[in-house]
Symmetry: C2
Subunit: 292 residues, 2 copies
């Protein structure tokens, strides 16, 4: 069994992007990071994104409206960033306070600056295999982990556990693409699937994105499979200072010995998400007709 080291692969991508940005003529890429309020998790995520931007040479524009901002005010802010030719990418950190309609806000971001890949147009482009779109960072990160770990998907059976819009569906669409590194046969399972273990045991590559702690057990995995664990779940743990430990959707201690390769949690898919956001931002800069 070999661990897939997400931290190492993410660092490689960041280093490549740094070189790419250094060689870019004209202005540096610019990412607007919008964080509403002071939610501690959001503060930590945005800080991480800002640090990676700085490391690569991406200018980040930090906009921290108060938690009391209205939907209309937030729309006006997004419109302003959409219209600003010097802004290549816009990220509105999730979750938003409950009085704001998150889906409506994400849709307000113009598709060309939607580096999170949540816009309807970008999902449509993914289905159409149109590479000018932006793919959501987590599924894009999963594919990048597999490619860089030398796991070819062509002709393989990929089983995706979970049908969310953020992970399951885009991961399935990516694995299906006619790219030489994709071309997989794909099964999507979910909470309503009957006889789940019989299906997951067929997976050459199993992508677990169901959001249930340690849900995937040894009886659900074929010996020699590659397992990608997308879950980030907090499980109460009295031995920890925080009172909890992080665990994936896979019961690592019993599943890992069966696998040819597996991602740990943390340190697997997680670090890839920020790296892919940076990659999308550099792509947005390259595709932005305003280079000056």
């Amino acid at each position: 069994m070999e661990l897939i080291d997400g931290n190492k692969i993410a660092a490689e991508i960041i280093a490549e992007l740094k070189a790419e940005v250094a060689a870019l003529p004209g202005r540096k890429p610019c990412l607007a990071l919008v964080r509403v309020g002071e939610d501690p998790a959001s503060v930590s995520y945005v800080t991480k994104k800002q640090k990676s931007s700085a490391e690569i040479g991406i200018e980040s524009r930090l906009i921290f409206p108060p938690v009391t901002i209205s939907q209309e005010e937030l729309f006006a802010l997004v419109d302003q960033l959409n219209a600003d030719p010097g802004v290549d990418g816009i990220l509105v950190q999730s979750p938003l306070p409950k009085h704001l309609n998150e889906v409506a806000v994400f849709r307000r971001i113009s598709a060309e600056k939607d580096v999170d890949g949540f816009h309807t147009m970008n999902l449509g482009k993914l289905a159409q295999e149109d590479d000018t779109g932006f793919v959501a960072c987590t599924p894009a990160g999963i594919m990048e982990l597999l490619r860089r770990s030398g796991v070819p998907l062509s002709g393989k059976h990929v089983v995706v556990l979970g049908r969310s819009l953020i992970v399951g569906k885009p991961a399935a669409l990516l694995a299906l693409q006619r790219h030489p590194w994709a071309n997989a046969t794909v099964t999507v399972c979910h909470s309503q699937t009957v006889n789940l273990p019989a299906l997951t045991r067929q997976a050459d590559v199993l992508i677990a994105a169901i959001g249930r702690a340690e849900f995937v057990t040894a009886d659900m995995v074929k010996p020699g499979a590659v397992v990608i664990d997308v879950g980030v779940n907090r499980v109460p743990d009295a031995t920890k200072k925080s009172g909890y430990r992080l665990t994936g959707d896979v019961h690592f201690p019993t599943v890992a010995p069966l696998c040819s390769r597996i991602t740990p949690v943390p340190g697997g898919v997680g670090p890839m998400t920020v790296a892919m956001l940076m990659k999308n931002t550099v792509k947005a800069r390259r595709q932005n007709p305003v280079k000056g």
Copy 2:
């Protein structure tokens, strides 16, 4: 074994739409049918669509530009129809002459009038389970056939053979939706799939859309399965006046006896396509803010 009668189900839908249109306040729905040149298949398709429109009470606006029309002229025509508040739906009949970029023309049609469901926004909405979009007529017709034949998909394993943008992918996304009539576990197989029969034999519902005559044979089908045959292939046949016969992607004589239900070719999925186009047009009329 029971045949799924596409002609009968399509006629039911047409009758329902006729009643719906009769009850609509304000103007009747209007469908622009654009046919470039005189390709015989296109002439026959457009005539069929025009007849169904007339039967339902949908006004059809026939526009038959010459085969020599330029890309720019066709764009200008589409733009004019997009801007016309009295036009609810626009259909540009495929195939277009080779000097025209078909994908670019389809993209030019505004998403709100894209009753063929090919627009990137409409594909994205399908993935997002946003029911304001338009679903491509063939996959929408497949789901309608299954629903009206009393085949519930929830918890069933649907295997889609083919990953095209027009049938395979949207059919998979529809079967996966969280609707009570969907909720299936879905596998997408294609030309690169290894050990195809082992996968198709798992299907409770097998959707064959691979475009190869009589490709699905008895060894690929589980006894009791429901089989939907999307293929329309011409096979040379000296006993026919035309010199060919139509056949699906399924070898009907050997597969049909195994199935609980199966669609014939012709008379299965085919008639549903026009019915769903009509359904999309009535929906476009309901969603069009200009009712006058």
